[in-house]
Structures are given as C-alpha cells and as structure tokens.
Point group: C2
Chain length 232, copies 2
Amino acid sequence: MNPPRLSRDSRRQQIVDCALPLFAQNGFAGTTTKRIADAAGISEALLFKHFPSKSAVYSAILTDVCEADPGLMRLRALAPSTRTLVIFMRGMINWFFGTPGPAERNEKLRLVLSSQLEDGEFAQVLFDKVEQHVAPVFIDSLKAAIASGEARASEASPRDLFWFAHHTLSMLAASLLPRVPPLSFPPPAQFEREVREFLLRGIGLDDAAIAAYADCEMPRELLSEFCSLESA
Amino acid sequence: MNPPRLSRDSRRQQIVDCALPLFAQNGFAGTTTKRIADAAGISEALLFKHFPSKSAVYSAILTDVCEADPGLMRLRALAPSTRTLVIFMRGMINWFFGTPGPAERNEKLRLVLSSQLEDGEFAQVLFDKVEQHVAPVFIDSLKAAIASGEARASEASPRDLFWFAHHTLSMLAASLLPRVPPLSFPPPAQFEREVREFLLRGIGLDDAAIAAYADCEMPRELLSEFCSLESA
DNA sequence: TTGGCGTAAGTGATCACTTACTTACCAGCC
DNA sequence: GGCTGGTAAGTAAGTGATCACTTACGCCAA
C-alpha cells in the first residue's frame, strides 16, 4: 500500500526524470512545483528536501541532458571521406526526423529553444559539446571531400557550414513540434531525400558525389550511436 | 499632471504595443497582467475593461503582428528571374540579420518560437501569410532560373526549398537571440556571403550564377519593402 | 447630466516554499 | 533473536506573495 521508500540518489533522479517532460512541454514559468511533485508521486515538501528551489530542479535537468557521452569514438574513428560525410549527414537528418520515438528528441529540442528564448545558457553548453564531439567528424570529412575534388570550397568555413546544416534541421524539427504543424511536408522518405540534397548542395558537394553516395546504407550500429551521440 | 485620457481604440492599441515586447521576452506564462498594465501606465482594472482576459491580449498581439500588408505588390511585380531570386535571397537574409534595429524582428522571432513550443497556432497563421505572399516570388524566380539553365532542378519542390532556406535563417537568427549567443559567427558582411552561398547552392543555383549576381545591389526601396513585408 | 474613461481596493485561487510532525529503516547493544 | 535510539524519508498543513480578474466608485468632457 505504501509507496516504496527510495534512496536519496534514486529519488533525486526520479524527480529529474519526471520534471523533464514538464519543463520541456510547458517551459520554466509554465511548470509548477506542485505538478512536478504530482508527476513524481511525492509531496511538494519532499521535492524541496531534494532541491532548494524550482530553479535547482531545472538546472539539474539541463546538466543531466548534457551528460551521456556514448560511443562517439566509433564515429570519430571513421576515416574522413566524402562517404563519411554523406553518412554523417544522413545520420544527423535521421536523428532529427528518424523513427526512434520523437519524445526524447523533442524534449531536447524544446529545452534548447526555451533556452534560446531565455538566457541561452543551456544552448551554449549543449552547442559547445556538439562542436567538440560531433562537428569535427563533419569538418574533417568535408575537408577530405574538397581535397578529393568531390566538393567545392565555400565562402564559409566547414565549421560554419556544419552549423548552417544543423540549424536548418533544428528549425525544421521545431516547426514539426506542434500537434498541428504549421507547415506540411512530403512523406518521410521523400522529405529525407529533399533535405539531404539541399544540405549537401549547400555545403558544396558536387551533384555527382551526391548521386554516387545516395544509396549508401547507414550502418545500423552507427545510426544508433548517432542518436545517443547527439545528446552529448 | 493627469495622464491623457485616450480613446478606446488608441488605448487598446497602446496596450497591445506595450504588451508585445513583454510576451516576446517572457512568454505567455511568464508575463503578468500587472506588468502589462504597468508598462502601459494604467491600472490592471482598465486593462480588463479593454480585454476580457490575459489570453485576449495575447491573441490581439498575434493578429496584430499578422496584419500590415505593405507594398508587397512591388516585389511581386518584379519579373521572375535568377537575378530576382538572388535579390530576394539577399533581402531575406537582410531581414533576418540586417541593420534596421533587431528589436521588432526579434520580437516576431520570439513569438514564432514561443508559438511552436505551445500550440503552433500563431506560427501557422504567420507561415500561411508568408507562403501566400512571400514564397511565390521565390518560387517563380527559382523556376525561371531552372528554365534558364542557371539552376539545377532539385528533389524538393521550390516551395519546400523556400522553407528550407527560411528555416535556416530563422534558426540562425534564433541562436543569436540570447544576450550571449551560444555560437559565434564571422562579422556581418562575411557572414552574409557565407549564408547566401550556402542557401543559393542549396536550392540548386550554379556557382557561375551565384558569382554573376554576387554584387547586384539591393534596391533600397525594395529592401525596406521586404522588411515590412516579412511581417505580413 | 450623463456615458464612458479610469482607478483603489479588493476577490478567491494558486504560486514557491516552510514548519512541525510521523514513519520506516538500520545500526549496536543486550 | 528482541529492544532501542538515531537518522533520514516522507507528509499534512500551512506561510506570505502574487496570480488573473472584479467590484464599487470618482471624474471629466460632451
């Protein structure tokens, strides 16, 4: 009958887990401590035994989301090449629009957008991580593609091009967040082809190279790596 | 000594004008009716004489922002061409990053992002307007560019390509919203060149055409048109 | 004189957060 | 094993502040 008594750590983690979707859905101001406590199945008093303030819960969520540094070494181990570049781009598109349940991804998107509407601190931490761990794969491969003649050089640095592509995908995903999306796009498979071509052309890849690697399959393991990786 | 008594319409408009930056900055839940009243220099009671609820003020803002249908006819009157396409793209980039005070633009950006984090209704209305009044210029010119051989056809429809470009710019602008932006980019002039090249390449424009129209000046009047137009 | 602009002073509800208290668990001692 | 005391998990019932929103009334121009 009684709910189980949890250890300090697991209770704290449970609160964070329960609060995450609430903050993501309703924003900081729109989320009440009562609703967090209810979601966790505890009293507000206990919530404040674990966290000194509502802000502390929010901060704990943000640092939590920034954790998790999975096997990105495997992706970094891939030799920089045009093929890796295309695989990378497909992986990134897949992360934003792919199948493995939009819940977690949408929560992160919402947190980033909320952060940008506020002080941007969380976005900064997250983008730093992406720039350190994700972007280099793209950058090295793009350089390799240019060197091999399969891509033209750009006005923009590979690093800037990475963020252009990343931001395009972020905003597209954001526009699909509402229950009734404000814009309609083609079905997933076609949509993926469209976006991929747009981005690969944008970063200077030649049409011949785009066509050549159009059907290279995503290594399954790498694809899943990518999903967890983007959360780094 | 007494504050001036305003007519119903002008008072109502004043309230909307004062509330807009508050909602844009703090979101719906984060904005209190007291702060709106203070910003307008009136009592809360008067606020509720003009609007039945806080939500009504918000709705009035959104419909207000969606109004204003300026001389977009002049832009539509431009003959569809590769040159018009490049001018259009520069105008769009300029609207997102240009000089005429980021205040108004940032407010609209914040409202759109907030809307996407909530029900997306406002974003839908705004995007509908853009698709009706802004996108056709782009679409027709891109078709013309393809027909003239200066652009390659894409997997994506010109309409989708327009939104890809628009979303890229939206997210870039959104990432620059926080006081301390989470990402740093080159100085404006260089940044504009980078983004323009990325987007024009992305929509399939040939490098030769990009270079050919690289220095075509923005007609001043059209540029300002564009600014007010994007709010349509 | 009177209709509508305008406000002072509230309303109950809900906010983040506390206080005072009970309950379960687990030592260490007999 | 039982008994027990200390500690931490957990809660009921608040706190004053602030929320969105009202009521009752003054005031001024037409």
